[in-house]
């Protein structure tokens, strides 16, 4: 971000903390950007003449006589078709060696869509993964995170989902991404020949954490351009939102705000909702779908970050290693797509809802049987059958390496029912049983 000639230069900083500095200045707008000693900063508080700036790169080494200039505008990005295929840092500056993008300048984190101008999401996003398409069907315009422990292959699954989903643009917002993961994404997209429809805003672990706070808004402002102006379907990948929230807490704690649960700021819900609610389906066909990653620590979903996320997003996808089959599966109990009922049985075969529910219920019975076994009790014949069903179900449907279409998933479901159960044990509407129960 360059400065222009007529700007007033201040050189008297009166207060410096780890993330902020304050100085006397006039005619400054709330939220405006400034450059402090060459580092980008933003106005977060004005009391009388005293302006407090949050310095994205941290305040290390900033002297009290540092040069401060105000840029007269809030953080922004230039949008145009030229964004496609490019890689940027958190400030929207190219990191791929290419030229700066020309286009209309937009303030990031702009206003919300008027709810009456939205359309109800109704387009199914097929991923080929049955743990998603069958049990937790995704819909365009949805926002949904993966809840996963850091050692799970969420970046791989997300990249796979992104490439299989037929969207016009994929925008990657990387926050605290390791350099290896960044290169992984770059490679996968490159190998798939998809680079021209990918846009990336990346903050890696090498960059200061507070900079991450800009990444989601950069990515989503670009997404809004393509969805609103070009009526395109846009998929936004945000990874890792836990690291984003950590950056929020760093800032709020340094500004002496009273922390609420898990030392997160009291505004965490609103802060996250502002991002996720950018997911939208427009009547004209454009849409923004957000798939995010929220890493958990030790699977704890009551921690403030996953907890607030769960209250905002339209479901969540849990990855878990199933030791019985030795594969990573999409956990059918804790995963949920809230929007699935808009498409299942409507855009998919009529038996979809019931097959899905029955299979999950039987999988739950299997889990109970397992507990019984662990507690040293005898298993009934039904328990035994549930256990063998669960193994097949995990292997043939829940595992993330499954790649089949939804009719095949449903047929597989009926076959598994037939192999292990009698119709009345499955509890599906009689008409559907009559129609789909395999005849043998």
């Amino acid at each position: 971000m360059e400065k222009t000639a007529f700007q007033k230069i201040y050189t008297k900083i009166s207060q410096i903390t780890k993330a902020t500095c304050s100085l006397e200045a006039t005619d400054v707008g709330y939220g405006e950007l400034a450059i402090v000693n060459g580092k980008l900063a933003q106005v977060v508080k004005i009391i009388g003449g005293l302006v407090t700036l949050q310095v994205f790169g941290g305040t290390e080494g900033i002297p009290t006589n540092a040069e401060v200039t105000f840029l007269g505008k809030a953080p922004s990005i230039k949008v145009s078709e030229d964004l496609a295929g490019r890689f940027f840092n958190a400030y929207g500056d190219p990191i791929d060696g290419g030229p700066a993008v020309e286009g209309e300048e937009r303030i990031i984190g702009g206003p919300s869509v008027n709810p009456v101008r939205r359309k109800q999401p109704s387009e199914l996003i097929a991923t080929g993964i049955a743990g998603i398409d069958l049990n937790n069907t995704l819909v365009s315009g949805q926002k949904i995170p993966f809840f996963a422990d850091p050692d799970q292959p969420f970046n791989q699954v997300m990249a796979m989902v992104a490439l299989r989903a037929k969207t016009d643009k994929i925008i990657l917002g990387g926050m605290g991404l390791t350099n290896d993961d960044y290169l992984f994404y770059k490679n996968v997209f490159d190998n798939a020949g998809a680079l021209d429809r990918i846009i990336s805003f990346v903050n890696t672990t090498d960059n200061p954490p507070v900079e991450r706070l800009l990444v989601p808004d950069m990515a989503l402002t670009a997404a809004e351009y393509f969805a609103v102006e070009k009526n395109e379907t846009v998929l936004v990948l945000l990874t890792d939102m836990t690291l984003y929230a950590d950056a929020l807490s760093i800032v709020s704690n340094r500004m002496d705000q009273i922390p609420s649960k898990d030392s997160m700021p009291g505004s965490l819900y609103s802060d996250l909702a502002k991002i996720y609610e950018k997911a939208v389906q427009f009547p004209e066909g454009g849409s923004i779908t957000i798939i995010a990653v929220t890493t958990l620590s030790g699977g704890d979903i009551t921690h403030a970050i996953p907890d607030n996320t769960g209250y905002i997003t339209e479901g969540q996808l849990f990855l878990r290693r199933d030791s019985d089959v030795g594969k990573v599966i999409v956990d059918p109990f804790r995963s949920l797509s809230r929007l699935k009922q808009l498409v299942i049985g409507k855009k998919t075969r009529e038996d979809h809802p019931q097959v899905m529910n029955s299979a999950v219920r039987l999988f739950a019975d299997a889990a109970n049987a397992k507990t019984k076994l662990e507690n040293g009790f005898d298993l009934t014949d039904y328990d035994q059958r549930c256990l063998s069903f669960a193994k097949d179900y995990s292997e043939k449907l829940l595992a993330i390496d499954v790649n089949i279409d939804i009719d095949q998933m449903l047929n597989t479901g009926w076959n598994l029912f037939n192999t292990h159960f009698k119709p009345e044990e499955v509890g599906i509407k009689q008409e559907l049983v009559d129609k789909y129960w395999p005849k043998n």
């Binding site: 649960k261 909702a273 997911a279 005898d378």
Partner: protein, 585 residues
């Protein structure tokens, strides 16, 4: 002369304004920033400094910008045309706004200036009237919308004239009243009221007692709510709060439904926009949207307006209650409103209470719930506001300030259990932890005794006992093992499962199962209790399990069939045959 001021400080959406004259607490003001007028509310005054919460983003606001005080608190505009509208938290008509995105400072008129309403007088010259007296009525979506003496009028007035039957706009004078000083006062169809003040222009508020049918079995049968009652639905994310509230707002026997989407998802509001114009109200045959008003302050809309949104919704409900109507108010989620209070209180650097919520949170919640209720109007008619709020406790833990404060005031407690949601036992209302205090009201017993049956509450208690015993037995079986307990234990457990699967569980997405009228609930409960009272002959616990699974399956097919249709009767017959097989005479 109205007070003016200048911006002296900005911390997010808290702005400090130095005023040049008197200001009052909760007064509205407008910050004029770069040509845009941003609405704000005074929340604290310290000497000449007014602390105001801005209902919009404060990006770009500068020190010394002008502020104009409005001289009144946050108000709503009341009149015909509110039904079927989609408002934001400050009652701006969202449909009147231009463009895809909400613009700062875009405030739109909540009613329609030009629409003509067919007015019929109810009062006549010479009548003595007071605030909320009915002067006439217009037809609003088939609902008799009363045009009332404005609530702000104090004392008695004499009607000088009322307009003849005919078509008028909301701004046309429809009556002239004379006050005690002999001064003429013209009244049209519009009045204003400050949202934070309760409308109390009624005679008295007795204890509510009339069953409000919701069509949700686990509510109506087990823990009923009443017309003018209060209830709340706490539950962890994904447990089914919103689905349940939407079901109630579609099915409940109310005249008017106000849905306050308070800090939740925009897509959930869009669902209402999309579905309600299509769905019919089974009782009136009219479209659901015709009786519904939506107040949308979704989670991405300005946080300060979130607090206002629930008050706006409540005031609209009070307005319709004064017309002798049954209003149902749903707020999803009251926790988001509490969080908005917390954000502001923290910015004001107030001494925090538990979990950093403001100290007065319990009082705020309690006075809000107190605005609901069943009332006798001054003219002897009745009206009601039934209020059901959801609560989103952090981490799903009910020991937190919002849940605890709400529990003290709401009379029905519908606790959604994570375990039930996980095993898809929807609606996930825990049958044992949940309660309805109305079951203890003798006037309620008397009422349901008349409209359902004398023995109804005995049946309900019997069902609850079976559920409780089933739960205890289940724990025993888990400890001792299937073989370690007598077969009877399995029978007891499975009988409670029949009640769970057939009465409690209900598929909100099945066109038949989603709503059950009370006669059908009575029929099914009686049938299910019959099987629970029957003694059976079983050889092994495996036998028990298989037998009851078959029974449950048949019952479920009945739930999915049109009541007393051929299909329904066929499954019932099969069920009776099944019972006969094993019954001990």
């Amino acid at each position: 002369m109205s007070t003016k001021g200048k911006v002296k400080g900005i911390i997010s959406n808290l702005v400090i304004v130095e005023a040049d004259g008197p200001v009052s607490q909760n007064e509205i003001c407008f910050i004029v920033s770069g040509g845009t007028r941003l609405m704000a509310e005074v929340i604290k005054i310290n000497g000449q400094n007014a602390f105001v919460q801005v209902f919009e983003s404060t990006t770009g606001v500068k020190i010394n910008e002008e502020v104009e005080f409005a001289g009144h608190m946050l108000e709503v505009t009341l009149g015909p045309g509110i039904l079927s509208k989609n408002y934001d938290g400050l009652q701006n008509d969202l449909d009147k706004m231009d463009g895809v995105f909400l613009k700062r400072g875009d405030y739109t008129y909540p009613l329609d200036h030009d629409k003509k309403w067919h007015f019929k007088p109810l009062a006549k010259a010479g009548d003595i009237v007071e605030a909320a007296s009915w002067l006439g009525e217009v037809d609003e979506n088939g609902m008799p919308h009363k045009i009332m003496v404005p609530f702000v009028f104090k004392g008695k007035y004499t009607v000088k004239s009322v307009s003849d039957e005919g078509d008028y706009t909301v701004e046309n004078t429809i009556a002239t009243l004379v006050d005690s000083n002999g001064k003429d006062i013209k009244v049209n169809m519009i009045q204003k009221w400050p949202v934070k003040v309760a409308i109390t222009a009624y005679k008295e508020k007795p204890r509510p007692f009339k069953l409000l049918e919701t069509g949700v079995r686990t509510i109506d049968t087990l823990n009923p709510i009443v017309e003018g009652g209060t209830g709340f639905i706490p539950g962890p994310f994904g447990a089914g709060k919103t689905v349940l509230q939407h079901a109630i707002s579609k099915q409940a026997e109310a005249d008017i439904v106000i849905v306050a989407a308070c800090g939740e998802r925009a897509n959930e509001v869009v669902e209402i926009f999309t579905e309600f114009p299509e769905l019919e109200d089974a009782r009136t045959g009219k479209k659901l949207i015709e009786r519904t008003t939506i107040i949308a302050n979704t989670s991405n809309m300005p946080v300060a307006a979130r607090e206002a949104s629930v008050y706006t919704a409540m005031t609209l409900a009070e307005y319709y209650r004064s017309m002798g109507l049954r209003a149902l108010l749903m707020a999803d989620s009251t926790s988001r409103w509490a969080q908005a209070l917390r954000e502001m209180s923290n910015r004001l650097e107030e001494l925090p209470g538990p979990d950093a919520f403001p100290m007065d949170l319990p009082a705020v919640i309690s006075s809000f719930y107190a605005r609901a209720g069943y009332v006798y109007l001054n003219n002897g008619e009745t009206g009601s506001i039934t209020f059901i709020g959801t609560v989103s406790p952090a981490g799903g833990n009910l020991k937190e300030p919002v849940t605890e404060s709400t529990k003290k005031v709401a009379r029905c407690f519908y606790a959604l259990a994570q375990g039930r949601a996980d095993s898809k036992r929807y609606p996930a209302i825990d049958p044992i932890d949940s309660y309805s205090k109305y079951l203890e009201y003798p006037e309620f017993s008397e009422y349901v005794g008349k409209i359902i049956s004398e023995t109804w509450l005995d049946l309900v208690n019997e069902a609850k006992t079976i559920l409780l015993r089933g739960k205890e037995t289940y724990e025993q079986i888990n400890i001792l093992g299937d073989d370690g307990v007598p077969i009877d234990y399995h029978v007891t457990y499975w009988k409670s499962e029949v009640i769970d699967f057939i009465v409690l569980q209900q598929d909100a997405f099945d066109s038949i199962d989603q709503s059950t009228p009370i006669e059908r609930q009575q029929y099914m409960l009686t049938s299910v209790l019959d099987i629970c009272r029957t003694s059976f002959d079983f050889d092994s616990f495996n036998d028990v399990t298989n037998y009851f699974k078959k029974a449950i399956n048949l019952y479920k097919q009945m739930n999915y069939s049109e009541f007393k249709s051929e299909k329904f009767n066929k499954f019932e017959q099969e069920l009776n045959d099944l019972i006969a097989e094993r019954r001990i005479a």
